[in-house]
Amino acid sequence: MHLATYIGLLEQGERTLGSSFRQVAHGHAEEADVFHTCLNLAAQCDAHVEALAPAIERYGEHKDAEPERLHAEGLSETRSGGIGLLRDLHDLYLLASYLDMAWTLVGQAAKGARDTEMIQIVDSCDHETTGQLAWLKTRLKAAAPQALLVAD
């Protein structure tokens, strides 16, 4: 059964996204909304990792060699300035969409397995991941013209 692989990937992915949100929060602390929102969203990622605990207990979490290339890279440093903010938020967006799809796939499996508890976990976490994507998109769209046209 490969579900364990995907659960492992989700768990790892949420950890990576959480630390990346924190990285961006501190790297762009001068953007007060980015700072506070990213910290809140990082806390959501932490909660997602916790929420996965019963699933891991039930299905295990595989970390074999094969799916390694599916692991998304986290952000190890932030860039600076308006364009830097844009690039970093864009990276977060990629990470979060990767996770969004992972939640969808695990959710499909949970339905196939008639695992109602798992379905609930996936629903509430994926709902928040969708929210994270929506915020990133809103913020990116607002920042783009200024960063791409006027900023030094």
């Binding site: 953007e31 007060a32 909304d33 506070h36 929102t37 809140n40 929210g131 809103t138 607002a142 200024q146």
Partner: protein
């Protein structure tokens, strides 16, 4: 007879019973030595010193303002005036700017209009050529006239094409607008002041109405003294006069409003104090709301907010069992971190009980400043004019047609820029031209050291329109002297949609000009034109601007199409919408319980209350709101800054009854200055004792961002919280830092983008003994413990 509104802020009671109309009581003040017989003419206007908008007549003799009298015919005040209304205008007679100033070799020196405007236009043109419209930003006020805002909106959106326009309304009323838009689809006040006359309960959420709108409180006091008085419930960390008269006072810990609101909503649901028929027919989102609030038991609320669980139950019971409730909401909610969520929760309470759109049952999401409403309507505050939706191409096309420009000129690719972001762009240098009018961000924005650095930097060319050499004007590159209230004609709109005409009573001092004249002059020099080659704007007088606005507002919720200067002359103010069908205005909106959430009509598709993420057009269409109100929910989250070991107290900032904004006017009115001459910090008896601080001691208040030195007032504020009034700038503090915003944090609500002034951790240190009590009024929430108890 001169009314003593300094000691007796709310005046003599004129009690009335539920359902009766509020009796008249005319307050008058004439300056020393002037008798009624000396007054040459009385000129119609409305008071410009808070959002109540009391109707006044200005007494003029020898081409000077010599006094003020409340208008008995006006629906808002029935003749009454508060301390600011009676005395505040005198501040306009002192220290006025009379000539333009320009910065030369680092110094501000007098110049001609031609020279000053030449500099403005040169810089503006050069930047537009080099960097385009996104290099320009405008930061206006809640104190200009509707005609001035609309004129600037058209110049900015159709002439220049910049999305960077906001007002200090962001600090005072952005959440009122945001919460109404989220719940009902568009901005627009559901309630009316007439609801105060028939309600059987009033809830005040972070609204110290006794000080912020003193005449409104006089109306409430008159109800309290009459037959069938309503019960009051107050949510406020301070023991305000309103709290004193309340059946229940929830003195919540700052930063926990959303928890208490979720608790109240949960109680309504638990006890089934719900109008199910209404909820089913007129709302969307009940299940999600019930799910989110479920964990907020009175005990949980008690733990988070540090209030008694039984008080939460008692407050909810009053709401749940009353037939007609009016809720009022202001800065205690708006200037907190979950501002929109908590204010939306107030709307939810009314929706759950079907309590709006009928007499006595209303919501008053208050405004702070007198003309904040018009900034919102005309769209110089980060909205599209006429409550239009920037995400709706059809709405943009309507404006483009009206203004005769290509729709692509009108910025609508993302929400218009909010003030805090505008200053951030200026800090980074991408906004290189910043025009500030009628406001004083160097005192009123959070984290002042940062704001001073931005305004003083050479990265940005700062133009300031003001009547005084304010802290902000001192940092500008060009200062243009503005005509103030009563020195120009225009209209403005109060909290309950009442529009007043304010006629010019006297000539402005020296070479001062109205903001409208200044902006029209700028536009003409810049040569802005529409597709047919006509000038933008097409008008150059207030009345013509008003007529332009009537067209812009036609068919929208804030419909002025049936109004005219002529109609506004003589009687009472008129409530919008005012149309051919409703020529006398409209007392209450949503009487049919059909809300403005239709896809093609709404002003916004809504946002996620936690992050501010925008709902898309498709997302909105899929839900099929179609006139049903949106019940929106959010869990409580911890505020951005919490007290800890180094900074153990929570800071709240706010107002006093005697001062307005940054005191440019009220600080120059002798009676008001004397009543509240200097800043202070309020501290509870427990905290004062623990820190060895006594009444009147000089203390240092410090946060990570800065510090101030002010006198301590030991008051009945909740333990663990301190309060500093925000009015006092450093400029006239004799070299001593005393501005509350030296301390405040740069953080804002994710939806309304209103700064969270009422959050921040501080510590207090006693510096020296005082010579007498702190300079804080004893007539208000800042009363000394001894006075209040004794």
């Amino acid at each position: 007879m001169a009314a003593d509104r300094v000691r007796d802020i709310w005046g003599t009671r004129t009690a009335y019973a539920s359902g009766e109309s509020w009796p008249e009581r005319v307050d008058t003040h004439l300056v020393n030595g002037v008798a009624e017989a000396d007054v040459e003419r009385w000129v119609q206007s409305a008071c410009l010193l808070c959002s109540n908008g009391c109707g006044v007549d200005v007494a003029v003799a020898g081409n000077q303002m010599v006094g003020m009298r409340g208008r008995a015919v006006d629906r808002i005040n029935k003749g009454r005036l508060g301390p600011k209304g009676l005395f505040g205008w005198q501040g306009q007679l002192r220290d006025r700017l009379t000539r333009p100033l320009v910065r030369r070799n680092g110094e501000l020196v007098e110049a001609s209009w031609d020279e000053a405007m030449g500099l403005v236009v040169d810089r503006s043109r050069a930047l537009l050529e080099q960097k385009g419209p996104l290099s320009h930003g405008f930061y206006t006020s809640g104190q200009l006239m509707l005609e001035e805002y609309y004129t600037l909106a058209v110049i900015g959106k159709a002439g220049i094409g910049t999305p960077h326009m906001d007002g200090n309304t962001r600090l005072c009323t952005a959440t009122a607008a945001a919460s109404l838009k989220e719940s009902f689809g568009t901005d627009g006040q559901p309630g009316s002041y007439a609801d105060l006359d028939t309600c059987d309960a009033m809830f005040h959420y972070g609204h110290n109405v006794a000080e912020t709108q003193t005449v409104m409180w006089a109306r409430m006091l008159d109800r309290l003294e009459g037959a069938d008085p309503p019960q009051h419930v107050t949510v406020d960390p301070r023991r305000t006069k309103v709290a004193e008269r309340s059946a229940v006072h929830l003195a919540v810990r700052p930063g926990t409003n959303q928890a208490v609101m979720n608790g109240l909503v949960r109680e309504l649901i638990q006890h089934d104090w719900i109008d199910h028929e209404f909820v089913d027919a007129h709302t969307v989102g009940f299940e999600e709301l019930a799910r989110v609030v479920d964990e907020y038991t009175p005990e949980r609320v008690s733990e988070v907010c540090r209030v008694e669980a039984r008080d939460v139950r008692a407050a909810a019971e009053i709401f749940g069992t009353s037939q007609r409730v009016v809720s009022t909401v202001l800065q205690g909610f708006y200037q907190s971190h979950q501002a929109t969520a908590a204010s939306v929760a107030v709307n939810n309470m009314h929706l759950l009980r079907g309590m709006l759109g009928r007499p006595g049952a209303g919501i008053l999401q208050m405004n702070g400043q007198p003309t904040a409403q018009n900034n919102r309507e005309t769209g110089v505050d980060g909205d599209l004019s006429g409550f239009r939706n920037w995400q709706n191409e059809e709405h943009v096309r309507e404006l483009a047609e009206l203004w005769d420009v290509d729709p692509i000129v009108i910025p609508h690719w993302s929400p218009p820029t909010h003030a805090m972001q505008l200053f951030r762009y200026a800090e980074q240098g991408s906004v290189g031209f910043l025009w500030i009018a009628g406001t004083n961000p160097a005192v009123s924005l959070p984290e002042l050291s940062r704001i001073r650095r931005i305004l003083g930097s050479d990265k940005v060319f700062v133009v300031v329109n003001d009547g005084y050499l304010s802290e902000t004007a001192l940092l500008a590159d060009v200062v243009l002297p503005s005509a103030l209230w009563a020195e120009k004609t225009g209209t403005f709109t109060n909290v309950d949609r009442t529009v007043h005409l304010s006629e010019q009573a006297v000539e402005p001092p020296g070479e001062s000009r109205s903001d409208l004249d200044i902006w029209v002059d700028y536009a003409r020099r810049m040569g802005f034109t529409d597709r047919s080659g006509r000038p933008i704007p097409r008008w150059d007088s207030p009345e013509a601007a008003f007529d332009g606005w009537r067209e812009c507002s036609r068919g929208r919720p804030c419909d002025y199409s049936g109004m005219s200067y002529e109609k506004l002359r003589g009687g009472s103010g008129i409530q919008w919408p005012c149309t051919d069908e409703a020529p006398d205005g409209t007392e209450r909106i949503y009487t049919d319980h059909v809300f403005n959430t239709f896809d093609d009509y709404c002003e916004t598709y809504g946002h996620d209350l936690l992050t501010g993420a925008a709902v898309t057009a498709t997302g909105h269409a899929a839900t099929r709101f179609d006139g049903r109100a949106r019940l929106k929910a959010a869990p409580w989250t911890s505020p951005p800054e919490n007290p800890g070991d180094d900074y153990p107290l929570t800071l709240s900032t706010g107002r006093t009854a005697y001062q307005f904004h940054t005191r440019t006017k009220t600080g120059r009115a002798p009676e008001l200055n004397e009543a509240a001459p200097d800043a202070w910090v309020e501290i509870s008896t427990d905290d004062a004792e623990a820190l060895g601080i006594a009444e009147g001691d000089l203390v240092r208040v410090e946060s990570v961002r800065g510090s101030i030195e002010v006198a301590a007032r030991v008051s009945r504020i909740r333990a663990g919280t301190v309060f500093v009034p925000f009015h006092y700038g450093d400029g006239d503090g004799g070299g001593r830092r005393r501005a509350a915003n030296e301390l405040t944090i740069t953080a804002w609500d994710p939806v309304s983008k209103q700064p969270a002034f009422k959050n921040g951790a501080v510590r207090l240190t006693r510096l020296a003994g005082g010579d007498g009590p702190a300079p804080a009024p004893d007539t208000t929430a800042s009363a000394r413990v001894t006075t209040a108890e004794g």
